[in-house]
């Protein structure tokens, strides 16, 4: 058996060398396969299928390169020349594609950190919209008025991101102004009952309703309401007008701006 393994096939390469090279290729292929499977599981649903497929291909490609680097010396190919040439090419490509590579690296970090995912409503450096795609180099947003915005990942990674969807609950608030002569306690009670009656205003965290300040023309009541994030917009747009109608039905009105005017000399009346 040993004699067969030591048999030279060409140059200094024996059957043993060829078998070793084959084993290395198999091991690297299995490792690449394992990484691909875990990558698919981790990123499924977070990026589009096309990009996931491309990432898996990239992993397999890197695996092939790695295997080649290991087996070339084993099968008698001197990689020194290749490495030198490869190094020069890498420097040239690196200089030419600095921005692309920084966007790519930022894209990978974004996929690891996951501050945003497809479908989230976000604000990235002043651009608000829904995340349509998180690609390897850029992120695509559809603004709320339907525009397409492509943001390079380096910019996304280095800027402030506000994600409106990431938490399961959100709060919104109103300021309700009533006349000074209206009963603030009664107003608070009416608003509280209306909020309690709505299915999507949460029991906990409980809503907060209080007199916030005594304004120039009105008593200002602050209303803070928590809802499930998915229902936040609907409840916010629905509830304010209901509050207004119910208060008016109870004789509580929203005042116009007012001024009291004092005359220095009392006007003569005839």
């Amino acid at each position: 058996m040993v004699i067969i393994l030591d048999k030279i096939v060409y140059g200094n390469v024996s059957i043993f060398n060829l078998l070793l090279a084959l084993i290395v290729v198999i091991i690297v292929a299995l490792i690449a396969k394992g990484i691909s499977i875990n990558l698919r599981r981790a990123l499924k649903g977070k990026i589009s299928k096309n990009h996931l497929r491309n990432m898996v291909r990239l992993v397999n490609f890197i695996g092939i390169i790695f295997a080649l680097i290991i087996i070339l010396p084993i099968i008698g190919v001197n990689p020194t020349g290749l490495i030198v040439a490869g190094g020069i090419v890498a420097i040239v490509i690196g200089l030419a594609t600095q921005n692309v590579i920084s966007n790519l690296v930022a894209g990978l970090f974004l996929m690891i950190e996951r501050p945003i995912k497809i479908g989230d409503s976000v604000n990235i450096d002043g651009t608000s919209g829904v995340v349509e795609d998180v690609k390897i180099i850029s992120t695509t947003i559809r603004t709320f008025d339907g525009l397409y915005v492509r943001i390079p990942n380096e910019h996304v990674f280095n800027t402030k991101i506000t994600n409106y969807n990431i938490n399961i609950v959100r709060r919104f608030e109103y300021t309700i102004r009533i006349r000074y002569r209206d009963d603030a306690e009664k107003t608070i009670e009416i608003i509280k009952n209306l909020i309690d009656d709505h299915s999507f205003t949460l029991k906990n965290p409980a809503p907060e309703i209080f007199v916030e300040n005594l304004g120039d023309s009105s008593v200002n009541i602050n209303v803070k309401i928590w809802t499930p994030t998915s229902e936040n917009w609907n409840v916010k747009t629905e509830l304010l007008w209901k509050i207004k109608k119910v208060l008016e039905a109870e004789g509580i009105q929203i005042p116009f701006p007012q001024r009291e005017v004092w005359f220095k000399n009392k006007p003569k009346t005839t």
């Binding site: 990431i166 938490n167 399961i168 609950v169 309690d196 009656d197 299915s199 999507f200 949460l202 029991k203 906990n204 965290p205 928590w226 499930p228 998915s230 229902e231």
Partner: protein
Amino acid sequence: MFELHKIPFKFENKEFSLVVDRIEGRFSYIRECNSELCEKNILSKTTPKVMLSPVEPVNLPKKLTTCFLIEFEKTSIIEPKTTKKIFIKFPMEFGVFIKSKKDYEIIDIFSPLKPKFTLYGDHRIGTICRYSKSKIHSKLPRVNPLYEGIMELNIINHTNNWVEISKSVFNACGMELWHTDKLVSMKATMKIIQEKLAETEFVNAPLKKGMKKSMELYTPNTVSIFTPKFTMSGWL
């Protein structure tokens, strides 16, 4: 009330009304509850049958969550190494099913009660739950089955300390509802593992003999001998 009915079918009381009738070549479904009207056409080759059944109370007004939380009217304190059986009430939801040949299909879900939701846990990783409040009863209380059902809850304190509990949270997957015409019930356990950690789980058994099993909308995804549990962490 909770059985298979032939069409035409009509059920009416002061809480809601259901009418399923044949009109020309189709079947018409009309439900009225709390001034809300639901009308649907059922297009079927054969004449289906209709069934009204209690369902898991986590569907209305829309499917936001599969969890529901029952807050106890008064906080309770349970002795160490003790098991205590209590009865609490839960809100009712009804499903209307049609049966054609072998399968049942849900066509409507309604409830005379207005649902409410709450957050259990953290703002980021907590759970939105259907909310309900109940007194704790030592004996089986009387209920109107159109509004409330009864849960027999076995609270087991495995710890060496007195533990304060004010609520119980359940996962509707694995919920087993049983009914008669006068009572809808379920059984569950709440195992207190640590002072701020408990596990709830349903028990597949009726409260009384002769109860029939209700239709299930939420079933565990995997075939398992273990029913899904809910882990309450941080707030009991």
